[in-house]
Each structure stands twice: as C-alpha cells, then as structure tokens.
C-alpha cells in the first residue's frame, strides 16, 4: 500500500464523517420542526380518540379515571354506553329522522340549483347580473335573519314542525351557494359543445339534460357530499323548526340530553360517536370529493 493510497483513504474517511455530522446537524436543526408538527397533530387528534375510547367504557370507570387508563390492561371495554343511549326514548328514531330529513333536502335543493345555474350560465337576460349579485350576497346572510318570517310562513301553511317544512327551509338556505358554484362550473364548460348542439337543432331541454348535467356530475358529486353532511350536522335549523316536534333529528336529541343531564352525562359519548361516524366514514372513503367540496365552500361562510 503506497503512502498516497493511505492519505486518500483517510481523506474519504474524514469526508464521510463530515457528511455524517452534517446530516446529524441538519436533522437536529429540523427537530423543532417535527416537534411542532407532532404537537399540533396530537392536539387535533387526541381529544377525538379520547372520546371514542371513553364511549366503550362503563360509566363508573369513566367517573373513576380518565380515558388514558384504557391504554393499559385491563381495558374494560364494553358496549354499555351504546346500549344505554339507544334505549333512551327517542334516540333510535331520531337517527332515522336525520336520514329522512337529510336525503330529500339534499336531492331537492341540488335538483333546483342545477336548473337555475344553467339559466345563469348559458342564457342572457336583462337583470341577470343583478340577480346573480343578489345570490352572491345571499350566500353570507346569516340564517338567523330569516328564522322568524320562515316560521310564520310555515305556520301559515300549517306545516310547522313537520319534516317536509325542514326540507324546504334547508333548500332555501342552501340554494344561493349551490347556484353560485354550479353556475361557475357550468359556465366553464366549452362553449363549442353547446353551440354545435344548438346547430344540430337541440333545444335547451336537450342541451341541459344531455350535455350540461352529465358534464357537471363531478361538481354535483362534491356538492352532494358537502350539502348532505352540512344538513346531517346541522343544529340551528333543526332546533328552530323541529325543536319541540316529535321528529327531532339526532343532533337536536343529543343536544337536549347534554343540556338536561347534570352529572352522569358521560355515556352520551356513545351518541356523539354514532353521530360523527357517518361524516368520518365519508371523509375517509371519499376524501378527494370531500376536500374538493370543502375547498369550493371557502367563499360560503
């Protein structure tokens, strides 16, 4: 082994040590970054996990020690809270009422919104811009501003406290945003398609049903998820129009139980888990559509 070779080898050894040290230094420098991110993630996830774990515990256990004790054996998991919650009168039907409210309300408003959006996107008429500016404005109007007169309308029509009345209310409140969003999407479709269809003699009915609706399906799909979960999670509208009726949906019933139980409310965790399992499942399985819907809703408020 010549002297020259030895120095080279030492040099590479030193260089490797330097890169290794550099690397370590870089990693150490980035350590605060990871720590901050992990703290944020923990604060945003742990409370939910804690409640889900609690929902599988017996009430005396919940009152004796926090949820973290279940992380170590004996876990003591049980479905007692679920049985207890579902046995309370009105809880099980309220889940059904939530479904009966949510699905028709979603279908009704999106059907009407799609048709209206087509008019705003592909027809010219006097007052179109003014109408549309009003719709943009209505998107942020607090529904509190409408509750009393809408209640009066429902009383006048003798449908106050019924499920169809809530379909109508939700549809009215949801429409401005949906018309806005679908009109922007429809307006972005290529003009040539509609023009060539017109040349071929297709009327507006055909252009709407055969071209506009199929091409808008991706936007409608995101909206369906967004609107559906919005109504499923709604409290204020349901509380106002169904608060004292026998058809209270799940959110209203849970809220009523939370505010009426002094001590021992802990078993209501089971109800909360049931209520949020549907939105979480939708989020997990339809993530792309869900996030797209939420992002599109950034202007809604």
């Amino acid at each position: 082994m010549s002297a020259e070779q030895v120095t080279t080898r030492q040099a590479t050894g030193a260089a490797a040590a330097v890169t290794w040290l550099d690397n370590l230094g870089y990693r150490l420098q980035r350590l605060p970054l990871h720590i901050v991110i992990i703290i944020f993630c923990a604060v945003w996830v742990v409370p939910t996990i804690g409640m889900i774990l609690n929902s599988f515990r017996a009430l005396p256990d919940m009152q004796a020690a926090g949820w973290w004790t279940t992380l170590f054996p004996p876990h003591g998991f049980t479905f007692a809270s679920y049985q207890q919650v579902l046995a309370i009168e009105g809880v099980a039907p309220s889940i059904g009422y939530s479904v009966l409210i949510t699905i028709p309300a979603t279908v009704i408003q999106l059907a009407i919104a799609t048709m209206g959006a087509y008019a705003f996107a592909w027809m010219k008429f006097p007052g179109r811009n003014l109408f549309f500016i009003v719709i943009v404005g209505l998107m942020v109007v607090p529904i509190q501003m409408t509750l009393i007169p809408v209640l009066q309308i429902f009383k006048f029509m003798h449908i106050n406290g019924t499920i169809p009345a809530v379909w109508l209310a939700h549809s009215g409140y949801g429409l401005p945003f949906e018309v806005f969003l679908l009109r922007n999407y429809l307006g972005g479709l290529p003009r040539e398609i509609f023009e060539s269809a017109e040349v071929d003699g297709a009327g507006h009915a055909v252009r709407f049903l055969r071209i506009a609706v199929p091409m808008t399906l991706p936007a409608i799909a995101s909206l369906v998820i967004f609107v559906f979960l919005g109504i499923w999670n709604d409290l204020l509208v349901a509380l106002t129009f169904l608060g004292v009726s026998p058809f209270r949906p799940f959110t209203v019933v849970i809220t009523g139980l939370v505010t009426s139980f002094g001590g021992g409310w802990q078993f209501l965790t089971a109800a909360a888990v049931l209520q949020m399992s549907l939105p979480l499942a939708v989020f997990i399985f339809l993530q792309r559509y869900f996030v797209r819907g939420v992002t599109a809703g950034s202007v809604k408020g």
Partner: protein, 326 residues
Amino acid sequence: VAGITPDQVITAVVAVVGVPLVLLGYIILGEQVIERIPDSVQSWIRPYFWALPAVGFATIFMVYPLIRTVFISFRNNADTDWIGWANYQYFFTFPDTLTSLRNSLLWLVFYTFFAVFFGLIIAILVDRVRYETLAKIAVFLPVPISAVAASIIWKFMFDYQPPGAPQTGTLNALLSVAHHDPVAWLVNSTTNNAALIFVGIWTATGFCMVIISASLKAISSEVLEAARIDGANEFQIVRLVVTPLLWPTITVVGTTMIINALKTFDIVYVMTNGAYNTDVIATQMFFQLQHNHNGRAAAVGVVLFLAIVPLLVVNIRRFQQQEEQR
C-alpha cells in the same frame, strides 16, 4: 325503526324521486310551450322560466324573510304595534345582551386570528416534511365532525372534578400531574370564553390549512430558490416571500372565518347553553325567539346582519373582479 311511520318513509321516497321528476316535466313541457311562441318573445321569456324555481326559493326563504325581519324588529313582540327603536335600545343597554355582544367580538378577533394563523403555520410546516399527507389528515379530522360531537369531545377535555377527586378531564389531569389545582374551565368566567373559542378554532383550523396549503403549492419553487440563493434563511423566506404571496388567500379565508365567528351558535349552545356569561349574538337571538320575543329576536338578527354587511360587500366586489377576468 321504531317511532318512524311508513307514511314518513313514503313521503321521503316520493320527494326524492318526485321532485327531480316534476322538474324534468317542468323543463320538457315548458320548453314544448316556449318553442311554439314567436322567437322574439321566446328568448325573453325562456331565461326567467328556467331561473324561476331557484330564484323563487331564494326569494321566499331568504329575500322576503330578510326584509320582513327588519320590519319585525321595529314592532312589539305580539306584532300588533310599531314601537320604534325600543328593541334595539334593549339590545344595546341590557347587560345580558351586551355580554353577548362583547363575546361575539372576542370570537371575531381570537377565533379568526388563530384559526387562520394556525392554518398558515401548519400548511407551511408540513410542506417541509415527508409525512405531510398524514399530518394534514390529522389536523383536518375535526372538519367533518359536527359541532355537537366536537362539543362533547371537548366537554371531556375540560371536565372538572373538585380538588381531591380523580380528575377524569384530560386538561385537569395534566394540571394535577403538575400539582396545580383543577380549573373549572367552562364555569370560570376568566377561562370559559377562551375555552369555547379554542373549540371553535380546533374545528376550523383544518379548513384554513387545506385552502392555504393549496395556494402554497401553487407558488413556483423558482421564486423560493432565488430567495435562497440570495441568502435568505427559512424564516425570512416565510415572512418576506411566502406570506405576501399567500395574502390574497389569507384574506379570503379570513373573511370566511369572520362570518363564521359572527354566526357561532352550536358550540356555545351545546357546551354551556350560554350560561356563565358565554352567550354570543346568535345564541342570544335564539333565546329571545324561544321566549316568543319576536321583536327583540329580530333586532338581534338585524344587528348580526349589519355586522356581516361589510363582508358581503367585499365578497361581491371580489366576485365582480373575478367576472372581469373570465
């Protein structure tokens, strides 16, 4: 399921199938009629025919009630007489309603600031690590959860037992580890508004993060590279390059958060029911409505609306600018 009558199920099914069918019939039959009338009238009448259902709904459930609420706010609770500004006078002088006004301002400032700030920080930080997607899912998780469920989640975090008893609430358990007396977060009037506002921030941060992150990805890496070559460190890049480029997005998200802050209802209603001075404008309005104080409730609604009007104007301006660019 017990308690649900077959009638209700049938009505729902009829609505789900029937409403789209009725609209289909409306379109097809309507077009048949419209196509038979002279061209000049046709192009005039058709758009209104198409826009009618949507515009009609919006008019009945939003425009008309809006105007009517303004009227009601100047009338007595039984809606029999004009009483001038009395309902507003009540709102701006009665201690309970003033508390709700103060709390709404607290929500407006702190909820908006921290939701946007945390959203921005997280979006920028996770952009630099390999587990970005996972971290984003974690922070976004509360978004699909209803405010009702989120309130129950946080009731456990804030749970309070008297000193000496086992602390089952997560925060008070942490305090007891640090040999600190437990705090009644939701009852103590120095902590309860902060606690409620934090729950709001917790549910909104993921939303802000997703929107800000999307526009962060749109910033070209060449800009950042150029700043690095010029010798800027990471903090300078975030402060002087990234944040200014994100500013338009931050204002959009901020506007949405302000509107949400003013409309806040669910979290306060479920967690404290407005007790211990945690009332906000929206819960105050609901309580007035529950007590059949229609005039007062309407006045509270009008105040809430007036607070939102500037943002409404901003939104319309922004929309008009976007239209010019189309």
